[in-house]
């Protein structure tokens, strides 16, 4: 599957296209198939996102995961600061990244 990610223009937060808007949670990422370029053009023009790009994703039992480690780290947060990850209460959160 193809998923779309970028950074929130104002806050810089990593965000994922969920089919209707931008989510902080990669699990909610939607398959954009071949619509990525159009979505990027529209959403960047609307100043909702910056640096958007399409990546390969995988549907897993836990939800959508980016195929490449770099984007998995983007989705989670720095692996060396579990206290700063998006869901710091989840002790298993890091397991799917590496």
């Amino acid at each position: 599957m193809k998923i779309l990610t970028g950074n929130d223009l104002k806050t810089g937060a990593v965000v994922w296209w969920d089919g209707e808007g931008w989510s902080l949670h990669v699990e909610q990422a939607a398959d954009v198939t071949d619509a990525g370029a159009d979505l990027i053009a529209r959403e960047e023009a609307a100043r909702r996102v910056v640096g958007a790009y399409v990546i390969d994703g995988q549907n897993t039992a836990d939800g959508v995961r980016p195929a490449h480690i770099k984007d998995r780290i983007r989705a989670l947060g720095p692996t060396v600061r579990p206290d700063l990850t998006l869901k710091p209460a989840d002790p298993q959160a890091i397991d799917w990244v590496i």
Partner: protein
């Protein structure tokens, strides 16, 4: 240390106002990202892996306690409670909001700081010896010359769009503590036979994907021609540097392809021309700057004695303090490499504590080192124990300077969008493996440096042991290098062979140290033994 005059302050304040307007126009849609990107980069604002990242300039690594305190406050107010000290003697924050950035720059300007010259293809923040003004072996304090170069290079209209970024280091000691020959221009201040001070120019060094050691191009430039000669070096580069290929655009490639002699000939020709143009600032300006770098009010007649009955304190003194040129004083280094910690990171509370201790024990001064540590340049020996106790209580008393635990590591794939592999976890595992002081003592001086990609921000080429993270089909892989150095014996490391996974690279480092210890003769350092016995025994242990 240097204090802004009215012109400096107005320039920085105007820059803040200009960027505030640029951010407003970006947010209201008047500027596209393509238009805005070069503007934000000129103010140190990157878009990194998780958020915007702001890199703040610390000119030649020198800070006052008020400036350091502000860095701690910014970490709390605008970031997530910590900052990362970099291998360019700067600090960066990883979780910055675009809409906050003008306010951050205004806060920085209130303590004579900014984020200019920390990004883009300009002359970057000038770096220097972290012991400048205190070292027993320097012939003169190099910082006034670094400051003169900073003023010359800031907003220099001719050099705002160079082929690539440009880094200058200035030192004044035979011992090179600033990796001077691995800069685009390395300047060492020297004294000639007549006793005059001048500048020795090395040009065309650097790390990155094509590491080069800068060759000497001029043995002695009189101080009243320093800026003119630097300008000549830059002009030749600006004219002929490879703008067509980003990977061949650094001056090291130009010097290498032209050859040292031809590059030097062109610089000398340009220099002769520039001497007729009268571009050198008046020597009175240098003298004005020097007045800001006079000695603090050292007390005379202080004893050099120390009570070393506390074994932990003794270890810290042995590892983390250096000789000061003033009797009764010492230079003390705060290691930002606790066992298992993140190299270069400090919490807001730690930053503020280090600021307070500088005010109380080091004439209000601190330095950031390219090895990602903090230095108190002027500490009365009588105050060392109290200083160490207060540092130690805050987790800042680690005694490992220049030992295997004092690892340089770039942010790597945990933070950096350019990285291919994580650096920090590897540093943490190695630090834990060699945590025991007796292990570090047995190994002695060993500089270990880790980069998460070929851009080499972690200086892996210059590590006695270097580690380079690469991406192998989407999986982190780590190459091992041996034999690099950044000091007087500057050399580039050699890759041992096939790479390792994360656990494998830690194991490989351990094996390399075992080979060293098994072959060490007398007082040899790891690097000395490597140079004597060569790569073969290490390869045998690693791959045999």
């Amino acid at each position: 240390m240097y204090k802004y005059d009215r012109y400096d302050q107005e320039m920085v304040d105007a820059r803040v106002a200009e960027f505030r307007d640029q951010v407003r126009r970006r947010l209201d849609g008047s500027l596209t990202e393509d238009q805005f990107r070069p503007l934000r980069l000129q103010n140190g604002l990157y878009l990194q892996l998780h958020a915007y990242m702001l890199r703040v300039a610390v000119p030649y690594g020198t800070l006052s306690s008020a400036q350091m305190r502000m860095l701690g406050d910014i970490a709390d107010k605008y970031d997530r409670g910590y900052g990362h000290f970099t291998t360019r003697q700067n600090i960066q924050y990883n979780w910055i909001k675009l809409e906050d950035t003008p306010d951050i720059l205004a806060d920085l300007a209130s303590v004579e700081m900014h984020a200019i010259q920390t990004s883009g293809n300009c002359i970057r923040n000038i770096s220097s010896d972290q012991y400048a003004g205190a070292a027993a072996d320097e012939i003169v304090d190099p910082r006034p010359y670094a400051e003169l170069l900073r003023q010359w290079s800031s907003f220099h209209p001719e050099f705002l769009t160079l082929p690539r970024k440009f880094k200058i280091a200035v030192i004044a000691s035979e011992t090179d503590r600033a990796a001077m020959k691995l800069h685009d221009i390395g300047i060492r201040l020297v004294r000639n036979d007549a006793g005059e001070i001048g500048a020795r120019f090395y040009v065309g060094g650097g790390m990155g994907r094509t590491p080069m050691i800068a060759p000497l191009i001029r043995d002695f430039v009189p101080l009243d021609q320093l800026i003119t000669y630097a300008e000549a070096c830059l002009r030749v580069y600006n004219r002929y540097g490879r703008r067509d290929n980003k990977y061949k655009a650094r001056i090291k490639i130009l010097v290498h392809e032209l050859g040292r002699e031809e590059y030097t000939r062109q610089v000398e020709e340009e220099f002769a021309h520039l001497l007729t143009q009268g571009i050198e600032p008046p020597i009175a300006e240098l003298e004005r700057i020097k007045l800001y770098f006079t000695d603090p009010a050292f007390e005379a007649g202080l004893p050099d004695d120390l009570d070393l009955s506390d074994p932990d304190f003794r270890l810290w003194v042995e590892r983390n303090t250096q000789a000061h040129r003033q009797p009764g004083y010492a230079i003390a280094t705060v290691s930002l490499k606790p066992v298992g910690g993140i190299p270069g990171d400090a919490s807001a509370d730690q930053i503020r504590l280090m600021a307070d201790l500088a005010r109380d024990y080091s004439f209000d001064e601190l330095r950031v080192t390219h090895a990602q540590n903090i230095v108190y340049p002027h500490v009365r020996k009588a105050d060392l124990y109290t200083l160490w106790r207060k540092l130690d209580e805050a987790g800042l008393g680690t005694a490992n300077l220049d030992r295997i635990g004092d690892i340089i590591a770039c942010p790597g794939l945990d933070y950096c969008s350019l990285a291919n592999a994580r650096s920090i976890p590897v540093a943490q595992r190695i630090s834990e493996l060699f945590a025991a002081p007796e292990k570090q003592a047995a190994i002695g001086e060993l500089k270990l440096k880790i980069s998460g990609c070929i851009n080499a921000c972690g200086h892996h080429h210059a590590g006695h042991i270097g580690i380079l993270g690469v991406d192998r089909k989407g999986v982190e892989n780590y190459q091992l290098l041996l034999g690099g150095s950044e000091g007087a014996d500057t050399s580039l490391g050699t890759i041992t062979g096939p790479g390792f996974d994360e656990a494998g690279i830690v194991n490989a480092v351990e094996k390399a140290t075992e080979v060293y210890l098994a072959n060490k003769q007398g007082e040899e350092r790891f690097l000395d033994t490597y140079h004597r016995i060569g790569m073969a025994p290490f390869k045998e242990a690693l791959y045999g």
